[in-house]
Symmetry: C2
């Protein structure tokens, strides 16, 4: 497997585009992904009881073969009552007619402000325009990645390729963050296109395995959004058939997990107001679940996130967050290290606080990517979670998001 | 029952004091509460698996009759290994000798930085000094309330009195906040002294009932501390015996719940960096637990807390936080109102978004005390929770707490 230059429409037989249709003031706000052939699809969706209208639609329709996804930013179409679902239907009717399929072959994703009805005149016009502009070019894919952004500061995409008997298989994805990020079973918006051929059951299983260790292990602010959606479309155009546990399967799973991990980390690194990415590695935990609870609790602690922003080696807050994680471990046998490209520093050794060199700690914590190692002595389970710091800018961005 | 001017040592037979012993640079950092007679005691303690040494001591010793509590701020004596527990023992030995009781009749509370050994030379000297200074005066009580503060901006105390057949019963309390506040089963540090006579079992029961609806319904930042402790001492000096379900019992319970609610709200209002107090009232929920989950989830949402700071009527974030609370309710039948002393505004009516007057909303949200009403149609259960906004100053305070 290798990383290649590419966009969401790089896999064979996918077109895409991104435009400004007028939901936002100036920035691009509508994207489309269209496959030449109907695709096998799999998805993960928010666990929030309050689900946006497009999420409700997609959860049902993802069982069908999928032709295209229409995506908008600037408006989440969430908490919009009956009108919200009618608007989703209208969107799918328009695009399905243009594509020559049924509305149930179309998925819809929205992200942005909650509780404001969709400006449907603009949206209807937008769908017609964007359909006619969608193509296979790199620039079209770039436009799509830009059009799904909200408070993201950079577009997030990644493309990988592997070969099977001389045939190339592409797995390419794009995502948007960046607040309300505490996915569980899903993520903000993330789209993966692949030209692999794979049956629905296997695709779904593989996706779940990858999501468990990638998007479900990140947190920006602990708020699970109403719109979190992750969709994979596989159109089979590469001519490579992924079968259960053959070599190609492991190549494919590796590629899918890799792109999801990359995007999950990009989302956290570009978390609202974030200046630092933290990676928390828990090893020697009793069970996988204990390891995951601990890692997730540390990346979610406001107090530790603020300490990280302040470049303060406040390992006490790490131990505190471990303690309320509901994981089972011996608090009297915990080792904690902080690391970055500038070196590593031992802060707690089997629960004995170490008198450490504050200058060295400061040097390490000045870096952008900080690694927290938590070493237990309970068993062999491990987990990794990713988070970001809590900054003035998080407060600023979210204090006046609607205005 | 009436509110009176008073301090923690206002109930008959209680002495107190607060001094600067040298743990902090300049501010008072040691308090003591001593009863003339041994007291019946009850307490609630942190649910964090990582418990500070004094918490471990108190959980065990609270079963005994209690003579005095020695409290310090500036150092939490948490994550301090075996030395931490040895230091607690030393503290109780010194104070118990001075008081003429056994070490197991002494409780210890610490709050402040985690993971730094206690400066025991200073502490030992401090205990001897403070013991000799403790008295019954209002000023001594004021000093105690100041000495338990960490990042608190104001001391927090309240005193109430009721009469029974001409005899006066006092219930007086002091507390400190203000970060790491997401108590469950307990709180930061809170001390209640009363001259009521009450047996241990009834005191414990009454305390639990009051805590459930007061300290367990507040959140500043979702971080449950290693040191949360709430202790009630009853020395019986009023001559009024509180018996199960007699009139005096209801007077006493009312007084205890009242002081705990007042202090809980003071802690939230003085939450780190907070500029606003929010009170979330959930009514017509299916069960008490559902009501509590919803109320607690809303006051804990970083996104809504930031919106509150920005004075943004972002009710979508309220609904979103309800949705991930794990409570059972119909998301299509929710009514949401925001209120303050400047009026009220309906934002969502049975899950239909209301087009509201933004100017009026701005006027309402400018106030310091904001009330969020959430009306369901599931049943008759209700709950109230309190929280604060998320501000630049929260990040600032916690970005460099140790320095």
């Amino acid at each position: 497997m290798k990383i290649i230059e590419g966009e969401i429409n790089t896999p064979k037989g996918f077109k895409a585009f991104g435009i400004h249709c007028g939901i936002k003031k100036e920035k691009k706000d509508m994207a489309v992904l269209i496959s030449d052939k109907l695709c096998t699809a799999a998805g993960c969706f928010t666990t929030n009881l309050v689900k946006a209208a497009p999420v409700k639609w997609d959860i049902e329709k993802i069982e069908n073969e999928i032709k295209a996804i229409i995506i908008n930013s600037g408006n989440a179409n969430a908490c919009t009552g009956i009108q919200g679902m009618n608007d989703v239907k209208t969107e799918t009717e328009i695009l399905s007619k243009l594509c020559g399929v049924k509305p149930e072959n179309i998925l819809v994703c929205s992200t942005g402000v909650i509780g404001v009805p969709m400006p449907m005149d603009i949206v209807k016009e937008g769908i017609k325009n964007i359909y006619s502009m969608a193509d296979y070019s790199i620039q079209a894919g770039k436009n799509a990645a830009e059009a799904i952004m909200t408070t993201d500061t950079v577009p997030k995409r990644i493309c990988v390729q592997f070969e099977s008997e001389g045939k190339k298989v592409n797995v390419c994805a794009m995502a948007k963050g960046t607040g309300m990020i505490n996915p569980n079973m899903a993520t903000m918006l993330c789209f993966v296109a692949t030209d692999a051929e794979i049956d629905k059951k296997l695709l779904k299983e593989t996706l779940n395995e990858c999501v468990k260790n990638t998007f479900n292990m990140i947190s920006v602010d602990g708020d699970t959004s109403t719109n979190d959606t992750l969709i994979v479309l596989a159109n089979g155009e590469s001519g490579v058939k992924i079968k259960d546990k053959n070599n190609d399967y492991y190549e494919f799973k590796n590629a899918l997990c890799f792109v999801l991990e990359k995007l999950a980390k990009m989302c956290v690194k570009d978390g609202e107001g974030a200046t630092k990415l933290m990676e928390v590695n828990v090893i020697n935990a009793k069970t996988d679940n204990d390891a995951r609870l601990i890692a997730k609790s540390v990346v979610s602690s406001n107090l530790f996130k603020a300490a990280l922003f302040g470049q303060d080696a406040n390992w006490g807050r790490v131990l505190c967050a471990m303690g309320y994680s509901k994981a089972d471990f011996d608090p009297d046998n915990v080792t904690i290290k902080f690391k970055s490209s500038k070196g590593e520093i031992l802060l707690m050794d089997k629960s004995n606080p170490i008198i450490f060199d504050e200058q060295k700690a400061a040097l390490i914590l000045k870096e952008t990517d900080i690694f927290i190692d938590i070493i237990l002595e309970e068993g062999t389970a491990k987990a990794t979670a990713w988070g970001c710091d809590l900054t003035y800018d998080y407060v600023k961005i979210n204090g006046d998001y609607r205005s």
